[in-house]
Symmetry: C2
Subunit: 411 residues, 2 copies
């Protein structure tokens, strides 16, 4: 039973922007949409009820982190990621590849006996698998495309991703090509593992069922990932291959790892002509406001990014234009002493419960004394702001005014 579908509702006449609707077993996602990141089955101090209030439509869980703690078996036992964390809306998990490879750039000290230490890389890439060490306790783990799919099936999200290698930046053309070719082989293996699991299930229960007594299995949607680094020929080759495979959606990956905005835009430009019109398009790790506008304009549908919640933890909060602009990335630093006596809300005209209740001066105080509430309030506001921005982009596309909206924001 496949309950996943995507429908384009409206297309902008002056750009490639589009409004769509992704339907999953756990609800509908109106696109363009922001996917809130809940790395370890929680979004930084916020409850699922906060997330509903904020207008969050879908949550992103990280397979790498959930595999290490609490482990996919526990999550499955609780009925899957959504049920485990008390969220009844749609969810998506990544394959674990991104964290394995980005943490793999670092070296860690491995304890040998009581005293001796030896340095070891966290990751060892083979053609068939990736062996990596937990960043928490140094224990060895192995991911294969099949293993990643199996874990994601236990996590039970509505949308899952193929296992890919996200090459570090900078990488040579030669290395990026090798990584891309591995990614393509892994994409095909992920697809086969995914198909086989539904034709020949290993486990009796699949957790993403709406009724816990209903053991019928809901097929998870599987997205392919385009890689290819900063190289035009590779991006094109990857986009062409991934787009030719029977995925439910297509993601663009590897553009958030230390590359410039120009390189991000190039990767998008090179990939998008090959991406099927009728499938949802996800941009992995992208979430700065100028990037969002440019990507929606080119026809991207969904975006996940830790920026709103990560920067919130440093006291950075979103502000509307004209105070917010391209240069300050639409953010102010509430820790600055100029805000100590500021009685205004975090940003004007914001209807979120934080802006309706608290002042900049109070939030400034909370950050200065490093009180827990600081992180919660800033995360809440930032997620509200970005979800509200997406709601406005959908509205503007429906009204044929997307480019006007973009220029109002971008100047």
């Amino acid at each position: 039973m496949n309950t996943f579908s995507f429908k384009i509702i409206a297309k902008d006449k002056k750009s490639k922007a589009r409004v769509g609707r992704i339907t999953t077993a756990h609800g509908v996602i109106e696109t363009p949409a922001f996917v809130a990141v809940g790395t370890r089955a929680t979004v930084r101090g916020l409850t699922p009820s906060d997330l509903k209030e904020i207008g969050v439509q879908i949550l992103f869980g990280n397979t790498y982190h959930l595999h290490l703690r609490p482990g996919e078996d526990i999550v499955q036992e609780f009925g899957g990621l959504g049920k485990f964390m008390g969220w009844n809306g749609p969810t998506i998990t990544d394959s674990g590849g991104f964290q394995v490879f980005s943490l793999g750039q670092k070296k860690i000290k491995i304890l040998q006996g009581d005293e001796d230490q030896t340095e070891a890389k966290l990751v060892d890439i083979k053609e068939g698998s990736v062996i990596f060490r937990s960043h928490i306790d140094g224990t060895l783990h192995e991911f294969t495309p099949e293993k990643s799919i199996e874990i994601q099936q236990k996590l039970g999200a509505d949308i899952v991703l193929v296992f890919d290698e996200c090459a570090p930046h900078p990488s040579t053309h030669e290395y990026t090509k090798q990584a891309m070719e591995r990614t393509h082989k892994w994409a095909i293996r992920s697809l086969a593992a995914h198909k086989s699991e539904y034709q020949n299930p290993k486990s009796e229960t699949i957790s993403n069922v709406q009724n816990p007594n209903d053991k019928k299995r809901l097929k998870q949607a599987l997205y392919g990932i385009i890689q290819g680094g900063v190289y035009k020929d590779l991006r094109k080759e990857s986009a062409k291959l991934i787009s030719s495979l029977p995925f439910d959606g297509i993601a663009i990956g590897g553009v958030s790892v230390g590359e410039s905005k120009k390189q991000m835009r190039d990767a998008l430009e090179w990939s998008i002509p090959f991406m099927p019109e009728e499938k949802p398009r996800h941009f992995l790790g992208i979430g700065e406001i100028d990037d969002i506008f440019d990507s929606i304009e080119k026809g991207m549908d969904t975006f996940d990014c830790v920026i709103p919640t990560r920067l919130a933890r440093y006291g950075m909060v979103f502000v509307s234009p004209p105070e917010g602009n391209r240069d300050n990335k639409f953010m102010i630093d509430t820790k600055k002493s100029i805000f100590a006596k500021d009685k205004s809300p975090l940003t004007k005209d914001c209807s979120c419960s934080v802006c309706k209740t608290f002042t900049r001066g109070y939030v400034h105080h909370l950050f200065r004394v490093q009180e827990l509430l600081a992180y919660r309030l800033a995360s809440y506001h930032n997620l509200f702001f970005i979800n509200n921005l997406f709601a406005k982009t959908r509205e503007s596309i429906l009204k044929g005014k997307f480019l006007e909206m973009k220029s109002e924001w971008m100047g």
Copy 2:
């Protein structure tokens, strides 16, 4: 204009327990009541709206901490403690004495030049004042009874406390007597400063007004504090003197600093016969469940304590009997691995939103990965639990069943 009043609604026939009502300019407190501690103008990850939902009736702010950050002038500029933090209910502040003296037990390194360090005590007690160093940056500050009252007037709580010396435990009879005598002199000076401020105000505006355009000044209620350590003669002397002065309420202090439960009960026993029936009685720093039952039985009305929120941050959550009992202090440690797969709520029959939404297994996970939400959920539940317990004690007193309730809980 004095809007503070206390009325006894019902008295238990079989004990000294009583149900009362404290009326303040910012609302009513039904007693016995728990005062939630919001040290630095926030209660550990919770919003004022959470606190209302929980049933919190009154918040406690710490003058020492608020004086250092953000400073009483800033709080006054925002309209007082309640307005600053978005809480429209009643508030109480302490005098700063407790923190000055308890932090004063520690020594800190004082930087001299770039390299040299010298050890200095944080506090220097004189007859007329206390000079202390900020635990944050080592800067020197001076508190006098008058200064404490002035700061508390700027903080603008409904109830304020006299400046007292809380002698460390253990202290000799001789030292405790000296400290008590200082406390008595300071109580009289606090009372005079408080009276003088209302007869001859230094500042134009007082912040605890309900309508910010209304410059009329609301008189704050002032509570005296009984000290005297673990010595019967001193406790009696202190109770007699403090009770003879025209305070709006009487607090018992100095019983939470490293003394045994027996010593706490003794101090209560010795003091209470002198405490006027018609004035509200506050127990400073007391909040373990057995202590609460015993103190209510003896006729205490309000209690402030950091236990519910402090232990929450270590994963300790309240559970109802029979799982909770005197031995485990009605708490379980959710970090223990036995809870990893536990699908039950934090405690059975709890109607708080945490227990209605989340499992022990999920909260266990949040504590294991040290996620922000862990602290919020545990604090919420613990405060709900304790406020609900107080609501039940009020009900039981009204029904003449307080001792039955106590024995159900205490076994």
